[in-house]
């Protein structure tokens, strides 16, 4: 936020060819500052673990976490008893399980959110009928859906999928309805004049015009879906990064828990990055 502000100020006051240089310098120095704070925190963590002030079982030193991370992804898989969640070498398997769980529910949420959002944005009648219900449902905090999901869909897999679906549904639904409702009437008139019949209007005008908003909704939905994965998995799935973390909690392995947290952060970041790259060409026209 603050870097954008600085950028605008620089652009606004400077003129001509000189405008580019100060903006660039400010940007670079800010990126460097952004690395500084994590580095200091990390050094603090490492230093304190070394002296034993924090260390022990509550906060293992960073190298132990790193070791566990390596073990998680490249370690030799040991035979485990049924019902025991494996750790060593099971990283890829767990990540794949979590991702798959997330994507299945996300896809369903996007399908429902897009269709209902389109219908809400296109039809006054539909909006009048559904708005109160949707606003009511949306007011229910996300994790307040958990108890009823557990009963309806069962511990673990079912509850996880239901929760991810609900979490991912709202952003894309609301963004679609908003975007479609805000299509300039000039575009609609132009399309009618150019011969687009009503039944094709959603595909030729409403959807493409609302795409920038929809993409924002898609990204937010994915973030929320990924957040719900951990909650769903903590209720007791057999696989998944969350399942591993649950098992690590039971055996008191904080290093493994931290590995799980890091994996969630990295995978979430990469997933958002991929989505951004995929959708960028669709909204190139609106990006300034």
């Amino acid at each position: 936020m603050s870097s954008t502000l600085t950028e605008n100020l620089t652009k606004g006051t400077a003129d001509g060819a000189a405008a580019g240089r100060p903006t660039l310098r400010i940007r670079r120095s800010r990126k460097w500052l952004g690395v500084l704070v994590p580095a200091v925190l990390f050094a603090l963590w490492a230093g304190l673990s070394g002296t034993g002030v924090v260390g022990g079982t509550l906060l293992p030193p960073p190298w132990e976490v790193l070791q566990s991370a390596v073990e998680f992804f490249t370690g030799e898989q040991l035979l485990t008893l049924p019902g025991v969640v494996p750790f060593a070498g099971a990283g890829p398997e767990h990540v794949a399980a979590s991702l798959w769980r997330c994507l299945v529910s996300y896809a369903a949420a996007v399908a429902v959110g897009l269709s209902v959002g389109l219908a809400l944005g296109l039809s006054r009648l539909f909006a009048d009928l559904l708005d109160p219900v949707l606003n009511g449902l949306r007011a229910v905090p996300l994790y307040a859906w958990l108890p009823i999901s557990l009963i309806w869909f069962g511990l673990g897999e079912g509850a996880a999928r239901a929760l991810i679906f609900i979490g991912a549904l709202w952003p894309v639904l609301i963004a679609t309805a908003d975007g479609v409702g805000r299509v300039p009437s000039a575009h609609i008139e132009a399309a009618r004049m150019l011969g687009v019949p009503r039944r094709r209007m959603w595909r030729r005008v409403y959807l493409p015009s609302a795409l920038p908003e929809i993409v924002t909704g898609l990204r937010l939905s994915l973030t929320l879906a990924w957040m719900c994965v951990i909650v769903g998995e903590l209720t007791g799935t057999a696989t998944g990064v969350g399942a591993m973390m649950n098992a690590a909690r039971e055996s008191g392995r904080i290093d493994q828990i931290i590995v799980g947290m890091l994996v969630f952060a990295v995978v979430g970041f990469v997933a958002d990055l991929v989505l951004r790259l995929v959708t960028r060409p669709w909204i190139r026209w609106s990006v300034t």
């Binding site: 000039a186 008139e189 004049m193 011969g195 687009v196 094709r200 609106s286």
Partner: protein, 255 residues
């Protein structure tokens, strides 16, 4: 798309057109007949209802009374047969120039080859053949308006409706646009009805000019523009043009 109507049917007949918004009477019995292939300018003071008139002709607004027949058919709604271009154009910002120009033809079910052929021809006619892949926001104001006109012409409409199409452009660009539009229409038998408050524009582009009164608007006078089809920047300084312009301005300002 239905076959284009024969040339003799490319006319516009407006009879007894009335339109009010609530208590505000905007159009008060408009009668205009535009001959096939003719360019007709409706000239009137700002806020006299010119744009409302064109929106009724384009089918975006319903008249309270009177009839509009374009190419022999009564106007009941917007249609590719009488496309309108407004001051801000109607290009879709998410489509490239090529896709914008091909929008109408594609919608009417033409094959890809046909669409490409129509678009290529229009890209040349608008002098935008180097910008096929550009987005509308990457075009200058003048280029954008040429493209907007081409987008409507791509449907081969018998009648083209223009609502202050160059109103947002600077004076020099506007003059260049006038010369361009004249040459573009000279090669076609498209009937053109243009609404404007710019006397130069009306006298440069139209074969006949209808003067509108202040609101509620009626056509108070029609005059034939005595210049040939070959008009351009030089016409602007001809004594006959200057005299006519002064006369028209006087009447428009009196209302």
């Amino acid at each position: 798309m239905t076959a284009a109507p024969p040339t003799e049917l490319r006319d516009v007949r407006v009879a007894g057109l009335r339109k009010s918004f609530g208590d505000l009477r905007v159009l008060d019995g408009i009668d205009i007949t535009v001959q096939p292939g003719e360019s007709y300018a409706v000239l009137g003071p700002s806020g006299c209802g010119k744009s409302t008139l064109l929106r009724v002709l384009a089918g975006f607004e319903q008249a309270d009374a009177g009839t509009v027949r374009i190419a022999g058919e009564e106007v009941t709604g917007p249609s590719p047969s009488h496309g309108m271009v407004s001051q801000s154009g109607s290009l879709f910002p998410w489509l490239t120039l090529r896709d914008n120009l091909g929008f109408g033809p594609k919608e009417s079910g033409r094959t890809k080859d046909e669409v490409d052929q129509i678009v290529d021809e229009l890209l040349v006619a608008t002098g935008l053949d180097g910008f096929a892949g550009a987005l509308p926001r990457e075009l200058s104001g003048g280029m954008g308006q040429r493209a907007a006109i081409a987008q409507v012409l791509a449907n081969r409409p018998p009648v083209l409706l223009l609502d202050e199409p160059f109103g947002a452009l600077d004076a020099q660009t506007r003059l260049r646009m006038h010369e361009w539009l004249r040459s573009l229409l000279a090669g076609r038998d498209t009937t053109c009805l243009i609404v404007t408050h710019d006397v130069d524009e009306a006298l440069l582009l139209a074969d006949r000019v209808g003067l509108l009164s202040a609101r509620p608007a009626t056509v108070v006078e029609e005059l034939v523009v005595p210049f040939g089809r070959d008009r351009g920047r030089r016409t602007l300084t001809e004594p006959e043009f200057v005299r006519l312009k002064a006369e028209v301005l006087e009447r428009v300002l009196i209302g």
